[in-house]
């Protein structure tokens, strides 16, 4: 995959940088990494990080240290859809353990793994601020809340259909 923003992505990148004072373009690093991750296959390769560094005229190490600090950046390839299931206290008391076990069994993968067809990755995450709607998981930009086994079945079917249509 080419590591260069297309015109639309570059316009967005410039909009992000323009929000900060002149000479403070490094401030756009977090949003720029989100943009890069969304643009280049859902994860940040070294090549991608170096590209972002060159765009912001900062050292590559400045990008690596940020990319490794924040949990939302994937540093290795992930499936087309990443299930990030919350396991913190409020979700735990609402039954997140059962949901995690059910997803593992249904997708036949362990934590951190991706299904053989490259469709789904299962990750555990810490509190996502949906405690009143627990148990929950995040899939891309979307929160899936009040999870039950039936609901998980529906979500898997939904994404499989979405992938088939694309």
């Amino acid at each position: 995959m080419a590591t260069t923003f297309n015109d639309i992505q570059m316009t967005e990148f410039k909009r992000l940088v323009a929000r900060y004072p002149e000479g403070k373009q490094k401030s756009a690093l977090l949003p720029a990494l989100h943009l890069a991750q969304d643009s280049f296959g859902g994860w940040l390769s070294t090549e991608t990080m170096d590209y972002v560094a060159s765009l912001l005229t900062i050292e590559p190490i400045e990008v690596y240290e940020v990319a490794t600090f924040y949990s939302m950046y994937n540093l290795k390839p992930v499936g087309k859809f990443v299930f990030e299931v919350c396991q913190t206290g409020p979700c735990m008391v609402s039954g997140s353990d059962n949901i995690i076990d059910y997803i593992k069994k249904t997708l036949d993968i362990k934590l951190g793994e991706t299904t053989k067809d490259g469709m789904f990755t299962l990750k555990l995450v810490e509190c996502l601020g949906a405690c009143g709607y627990a148990p929950m998981m995040q899939v891309g930009k979307i929160y899936k809340e009040h999870l039950t086994k039936e609901k998980v079945d529906g979500i898997i079917a939904e994404y499989k259909a979405q992938a088939a249509n694309n």
Binding site: Y73, T88, V93
Partner: protein, 450 residues
């Protein structure tokens, strides 16, 4: 039905759009503040209101504003802390998702008062769809002349920018947030210098929570003195509480801080009682870092007086028998919940979120997680409980930022109030894997729901 100042219009259809929000009286506080008030007068109203920071620390907002340095020729910035990450807390999300213009309105007035021409909302990265909602609200406000250059012909310029974080609890700490806003790892800074003197890009900066900034709107509209009449003592105005756990009606509630904890849990207007007719065992009343309380100490203080939903009452008795209002993340645990397991998940959370700068926090949170996991899985020894106590004491107060304290307090309170449940786990390594310690003596027998 208590008074509502923030969520009173939350159920109006279409309130998320500019047209409906404006028709319902939105942006009046901007007109009043920018046209009729001086910046000092606005700060004075906020001081009079008694408003205290709604993020968890409860620092008086007006006082925080009055600290901002004003060196000649150096831009100042207001930063809205929307990094809501404290387990149990989801009130800011609700406010931004359903009433985005209320936050934008509060931000314009506050930016004017502080002299911030470029104001930033730092929102947690996972709230990606709310970022879109906020950016749309900002565009609408700008199109209608509330943002941009020369607002209302007053000569005041203001733009609001939204920056997404990328998954780090620590960035809710204001100096870590500033580091992150600058494109760095979220390592908290040593204070002083305080952000009011040297904040983002070393410029004077005020960082306030979402709910705090939204509360500026009713304060300007009704006046600080009127606002201060609501509530009790130093707990003025209203507070958003996000209730979750084993209750019938989880959700976000606006309360006026004069109701009792008992009413909040059992009244149908709020939590609607414990789910499935079970009994209340314990509660973490102000976000995961505040001390957990067993039911008897939650509903009444050690002196036997009813406990109220405000700062003073919840902290009555100190950490020995009380807790804190904190962020308003109200986590309820029923009789089936295991305190050891709950504490373990929270310890794991803090280990995951420690930035790693200070050894007591970086090493201590890892140790606490491992020991709690050991006890939880039936491999614990009696000496582990004392070791846990020892470790949390060595973290508390020994770190640059409050994350160390936040990690220590839940462990300390769990051992303080539920030591026998920890001992039961150690003494019953097999039984504890298949059954629960249960309620034992923790529920107040008087407060069994009918």
């Amino acid at each position: 039905m208590g008074v509502k100042l923030l969520l009173d219009k939350a159920n109006v259809p279409g309130i998320r759009t500019y047209e409906v929000y404006r028709r319902e009286g939105g942006y009046r506080s901007v007109e009043k503040a920018l046209k009729e008030m001086t910046t000092d007068a606005i700060v004075e109203e906020v001081k009079k209101s008694g408003l205290r920071g709604r993020g968890g620390a409860g620092f008086p907002t007006g006082m925080k504003w009055s600290f901002i340095a004003k060196p000649e020729g150096v831009p100042r910035h207001l930063v809205c802390n929307a990094d809501e990450s404290e387990p149990g807390t989801f009130k800011d999300r609700y406010l931004m998702e359903f009433l985005p213009h209320l936050l934008i309105e509060g931000l314009i007035v506050s930016s004017f008062a502080l002299g911030s021409n470029d104001t930033y909302i730092y929102i947690r990265g996972e709230y990606a769809w709310i970022t879109d909602i906020l950016e749309q609200a900002i565009d609408e406000a700008k199109a209608n002349g509330w943002l941009g250059k020369n607002i209302l012909g007053t000569g005041f310029d203001c733009n609001i920018h939204v920056q997404r974080g990328a998954g780090a609890y620590i960035c809710g700490e204001e100096t870590a947030l500033i580091e992150s806003l600058e494109g760095n790892r979220g390592n908290p800074r040593i204070k002083p210098p305080f952000p009011a003197i040297q904040g983002v890009w070393m410029r004077p900066t005020v960082v306030n929570n979402v709910e705090t900034l939204a509360a500026v709107v009713p304060i300007i509209n009704m006046g600080g003195e009127e606002y201060a009449k609501i509530g009790v003592g130093k707990s003025t105005g209203t507070k958003l509480i996000s209730a979750c756990g084993n209750i019938n009606k989880p959700g976000v509630y606006e309360i006026d801080m004069t109701i009792t904890v008992e009413e909040f849990i059992y009244s149908d207007e709020y939590c609607g009682g414990i789910k499935d007719g079970k009994k209340l065992k314990a509660c973490i009343p102000g976000g995961s870092s505040v001390p957990i309380l067993p039911a008897n100490l939650l509903l009444t203080t050690a002196k036997g007086e009813p406990r109220y939903m405000n700062n003073e009452s919840l902290s009555d008795g100190g950490f020995a028998t009380g807790s804190m209002l904190g962020s308003g993340g109200f986590i309820v645990l029923d009789e089936d919940q295991c305190i050891v397991k709950n504490t373990y998940t929270l310890a794991r959370f803090y280990r995951h979120e420690s930035c790693g700068q200070c050894s007591p926090c970086r090493e201590g949170t890892g140790w606490m997680e491992k020991i709690l996991q050991k006890i939880e899985t039936g491999k614990g020894e009696m000496s582990d409980i004392d070791l846990l106590w020892d470790i949390q004491r060595k973290i508390e107060g020994n770190t640059i930022c409050p994350l160390g304290d936040a990690a220590a307090w839940p462990v300390a309170a769990a051992i303080r109030h539920f030591r026998d449940e920890f001992e039961w786990h150690v003494n019953n390594p097999e039984l504890s894997q298949t059954s629960n310690f249960g309620l034992q003596h923790y529920a107040d027998p008087i407060h069994v729901p009918a």
